[in-house]
């Protein structure tokens, strides 16, 4: 099976982003949130918060979550984003909901993102949703 290279768009310089803080970007008509992590890698996801319906995810707090196996052993450290509105938390690598605040789980779309020659590039299309995720949000 061959995978097609996603179309990437130049958003800004890495130095335009603060560490562990996001910025909103327009890609075509779509609003995307772009984040710079502490290791200077970047992540991108939809800007729209599925819980509040507002375009604010770039203004949330970046953090980490230590996923653990059933026996409690740590498996991996994943980067997270918390909504600035009601504090739901998502895995920034997959868009999966990590903390729905006791409510329904609405995943978010994540885009490919990378740093090339000091520039931040983000894919035009979001990554296909993980198997099992519905991606339907209010």
């Amino acid at each position: 099976m061959t995978t097609q290279e996603p179309t990437m768009i130049d958003i800004c310089a890495l130095s335009d982003l603060s560490v562990e803080r996001g910025a909103a970007a327009l890609i075509g008509g779509d609003q995307v949130a772009v984040f710079r992590l502490v290791d200077d890698s970047v992540r991108a996801c939809q800007q729209r918060d599925p819980y509040s319906g507002t375009n604010v995810l770039s203004r949330g707090l970046v953090g980490s979550h230590e996923a653990s196996a059933d026996d409690g052993e740590p498996v991996e450290l994943v980067p997270t984003i918390a909504s600035p509105m009601y504090k739901q938390v998502w895995n920034l690598d997959t868009g999966e909901v990590l903390d729905a605040g006791g409510g329904e789980k609405f995943p978010i779309a994540v885009h490919e993102a990378e740093v090339r020659d000091g520039r931040v590039l983000v894919s035009v299309a979001p990554r296909p949703l993980a198997a099992g995720a519905t991606g339907i949000a209010p």
């Binding site: 958003i11 335009d16 562990e20 803080r21 502490v38 375009n55 970046v62 953090g63 600035p84 504090k87």
Partner: protein, 465 residues
């Protein structure tokens, strides 16, 4: 403490009408052991969140009864409580989140621990002579969006602008500037509960230009966004009121200028009443000051909000100087000891020995820490700077106030407004006619005074688009 004794038929979450008994049963019968599980199981605490501290207390009490050790860990990144981490950092001298999480925690933090670390670094910096602005590059990235951009996020993603009006005073000249700014940006105006004026509907990218005009008119940040002093409310006192026995307004202005910008575990409100008629409702505040013929009575640990409490009398008939000393000591002790987002009311209630012990520590200086606490506050006062003025002077920080980093001139195209009662408000999903520009919505509002009222006695027939 009191929460654990709530009867089973007491409503804890009034948004979803969930009883204390249901919360207890979620632990004892359904095996919930975390706040998240209790929320998911009962739906309590999932709407406005104001009952979450009560939920936590009930959960912990039931866990203790079942013989389960209750964790005081802040989150998965820190096994400490806020007060424990405060002492560790105070002794360790760490100055960044990375240093702190490397020394005492794990991972890269979350929306719980990062603002706490920013708050305690700010408090510690303040008390030892300021190291970092609580909203600057160093600590700003740890803060919720409100502290980060020095404004309060609203439900449509725009922000409110609330300049300081010490003791509720504002000059007519300043009022003219506020009015003109509101007209020019189409902002919604409302008096809030802190005796000051809020302007709503400002976009992120508009905040610096709005604040430039406010700062030029002599306004400064009101810290309405911070876990910090909000305001000092007062009556007009002996200056105007025929019953007043002390000049409560001047005292309120002095206290507001002294404690402005001070970061604390939760927001702080202070009230000063010019006589025992208590028009400033000082006993509903974290610090309440009520005039007597000999001076001031000082009350502490009052609260409005979700769990109202009357402030308790700490000491009577203080002169001006000793009043300030006692408040300095009280606030600094609270900052050192309280848990994250614990208001003074709960801290005073839960503190071993209650108000009597607190009186010994603060008034009688039984621990010999009075001078240290006062010196810390003196440092705060000496190093205070207006956060908005500092930001306007910093091109790097101003560069962050953009709508889209690759299209700075474009506003969020999803924003929509409708006229209501002579002003504008954010559009709801069911609004058929909306304007993308709040100035336009406001102009139509003043034409039609349109929109509906909850009682359905008015209609808006105006075609907007």
């Amino acid at each position: 403490m009191a929460n654990a004794e709530l009867p089973d038929d007491a409503v804890v979450c009034s948004c979803n009408n969930v009883f204390a008994g249901t919360i207890r049963a979620s632990v004892t019968e359904h095996g919930c052991t975390t706040l998240g599980e209790v929320k998911e199981c009962t739906s309590a605490g999932t709407v406005c969140g104001s009952c979450v501290p009560t939920l936590t207390t009930l959960l912990n009490k039931e866990l203790e009864r079942s013989g389960i050790t209750v964790s005081t860990a802040m989150c998965e990144h820190f096994a400490h409580s806020r007060a424990e981490l405060y002492q560790l950092v105070k002794e360790g001298g760490q100055q960044t989140f990375t240093e702190i999480v490397t020394a005492f925690g794990r991972g890269r933090g979350c929306a719980v621990c990062k603002p706490v670390v920013a708050s305690l670094l700010s408090s510690l910096g303040t008390t030892s002579g300021r190291l970092h602005s609580p909203v600057g590059e160093q600590l700003g990235s740890l803060q919720d969006t409100n502290d980060h951009v020095m404004a309060n996020i609203q439900k449509n993603g725009t922000y409110s602008v609330i300049p300081r009006m010490p003791a509720g005073e504002v000059t007519p000249e300043q009022l003219l500037v506020l009015a003109q700014v509101a007209i020019d940006y189409g902002l919604y105006l409302k008096l809030n509960g802190a005796q000051r004026i809020g302007m709503f509907g400002a976009r992120l990218d508009q905040l610096p230009e709005i604040w430039r005009r406010l700062v030029d008119a002599g306004f400064e940040s009101g810290h309405a966004y911070g876990k910090s002093l909000r305001m000092v409310k007062s009556c007009v006192g002996s200056t105007w009121c025929r019953y007043g026995v002390q000049d409560s307004t001047s005292m309120a202005v002095a206290l507001e200028r002294r404690y402005r910008g001070l970061r604390s575990p939760h927001k702080l409100k202070v009230g000063v009443s010019g006589c025992a008629r208590e028009c400033a409702e000082a006993r509903a505040k974290d610090v309440g000051v009520i005039a007597t013929t000999k001076g001031w009575n000082l009350y502490v640990g009052g609260n409005g909000g979700a769990q109202p409490a009357h402030a308790q009398l700490l000491i009577e008939d203080l002169d001006d100087e000793n009043l300030v000393k006692c408040i300095d000591r009280f606030l600094m002790l609270y900052i050192q000891e309280a848990d994250k987002v614990q208001r003074t009311a709960r801290w005073v209630e839960d503190r071993a020995g209650g108000i009597e012990e607190l009186r010994r520590v603060i008034v009688e200086d039984s621990l010999g820490i009075g001078e240290e606490l006062e010196a810390q506050m003196a440092n705060h006062v000496a190093t205070y700077e207006d956060e908005w003025t500092a930001t306007l002077d910093d091109p790097q920080r101003l560069a962050k106030f953009v709508s889209f980093i690759n299209a700075p001139g474009v506003a969020d195209p999803d924003l929509a407004w409708v006229p209501e009662r002579g002003q504008m408000r954010p559009a709801h999903e069911m609004d058929q006619h909306t304007a993308p520009d709040p100035v336009r919505a406001r102009a139509l509002a003043s034409l039609s005074l349109g929109a509906t009222s909850p009682l359905g006695d008015s209609v808006d027939g105006e075609e907007i688009r």
